[in-house]
């Protein structure tokens, strides 16, 4: 793997990690909101 390819490899890895992190964060917020709504209904 050339240095350029390795750089691209790392860039893609980093981008995927960021996207996965954002998705997980979104899920935490969504599940929290759902829980609050459901508790409020009872």
């Amino acid at each position: 793997m050339t240095p350029e390819e390795e750089q691209e490899y790392r860039r893609r890895q980093k981008a995927r990690n960021i996207v996965i992190g954002l998705v997980l964060l979104g899920m935490v917020v969504l599940f929290y909101a759902i829980t609050i709504v459901r508790i409020g209904e009872q």
Partner: protein
């Protein structure tokens, strides 16, 4: 401290080949052993198709009688969208070899070799499974049941079973695309009534003329991929006539929600005009014969209008409901 090194080209290609579920798929060799970009995963969800799915589901949800908390409503739409995305990914995983043979689909991540088949499959299963589970736990288990069935219908009944076997594939398989407004409606009401069934039937009836308009002009592509689409299997004349029949049936069906009192006049008159134009555009498609190099303009026009038709029709349904709730109309 040990440095973590990236796997080399041979290792990655060996993993990809060993993990491939479709032995017959001849994926192009990758010059660079790159991990899939997140955009490749996004492309697997068929974002363009998802737009229509989200819109019709949202319309079903907004047009349903009763109310739903915005957070729960958002969750329901998100689950429908993600389940559709998961089903799209599973469809691309299964059809990678077919996609590689068709111009329209050659640029997808699997034929390009930018993503491993097993990754696409696992991504599809994860999205679909999670969506159904969250729909059940957060919204309604009946809606979750229909959502699970719609994914099963699209992936197993349509993609794996019907599509390669019968020219009626798109007729029966079209039911998969008709589920979103039904599920959106059930998310609010928790029950199946005539209105959501009619919305389902409208999309079901709309699908053949919509899809065959496309199939008529990409006929050589489907022939190359050995997919028995109606124009290839039954011929152009039969496909054109059948499109006309479905469009003619769509007109009375689309105004039925108004006739049975499920909607007001805004929807009813909109449906009458929109379906009238749909039929008028299908007539030249249904009656003509194409010749080489004629550009297939009537078919392209019908295909473009059919997408607009669904957006405006369901938009009118929501507008009708919103105005009725606000007391502007009876």
């Amino acid at each position: 401290m040990t440095a973590i090194t990236a796997p080399n080209a041979e290792e990655i290609d060996a993993i990809a080949v060993a993990a491939s579920p479709v032995d017959s798929v001849a994926l192009p060799a990758r010059s660079t052993p790159m991990p899939a970009d997140w955009r490749d995963f996004f492309a697997l969800t068929k974002p363009k198709v998802m737009r229509l799915v989200v819109f019709t589901a949202l319309c079903g949800l907004l047009a349903a009688p009763g109310s739903i908390h915005p957070v729960i409503g958002f969750t329901a739409i998100l689950c429908i969208a993600l389940a559709a995305g998961g089903a799209g990914a599973l469809n691309m995983w299964w059809e990678a070899d077919i996609d590689a043979k068709m111009k329209r689909t050659q640029g997808r991540p699997l034929p390009r070799g930018t993503i491993k088949p097993t990754d696409a499959r696992d991504f599809g299963l994860l999205l679909s499974g999670m969506s159904v589970m969250v729909m059940g736990l957060a919204v309604h288990w009946l809606a979750a049941g229909f959502l699970a069935f719609s994914v099963f219908f699209y992936v197993v009944i349509y993609t794996m079973w019907l599509k390669p076997r019968t020219p009626q594939n798109i007729v029966i398989g079209g039911a998969a695309g008709a589920f979103p407004p039904l599920i959106g409606w059930i998310a609010v009401t928790g029950e199946v009534t005539w209105m959501p069934v009619l919305l389902f039937a409208i999309i079901f009836m709309w699908t053949p003329p919509h899809f065959w308009a496309l199939a008529l002009w990409v006929k050589p592509d489907y022939a190359a991929a050995n997919i028995p689409m109606m124009p290839n299997a039954a011929g152009e004349v039969s496909t054109r006539r059948q499109s006309l029949v479905y469009s003619a049936l769509l007109l009375p069906l689309s105004i039925t929600p108004w006739l049975i009192g499920g909607t007001g006049a805004i929807y009813g008159i909109s449906a009458l005009i929109l379906s009238g134009i749909f039929l008028a555009l299908t007539v030249p498609v249904g009656l003509r014969r194409s010749v080489d190099g004629d550009g297939m303009k009537p078919e392209k026009k019908l295909f473009a209008y059919s997408i607009l038709y669904l957006f405006v029709l369901f938009g009118a349904l929501v507008l009708d409901r919103v105005l009725a709730q606000a007391g502007v109309i009876a």
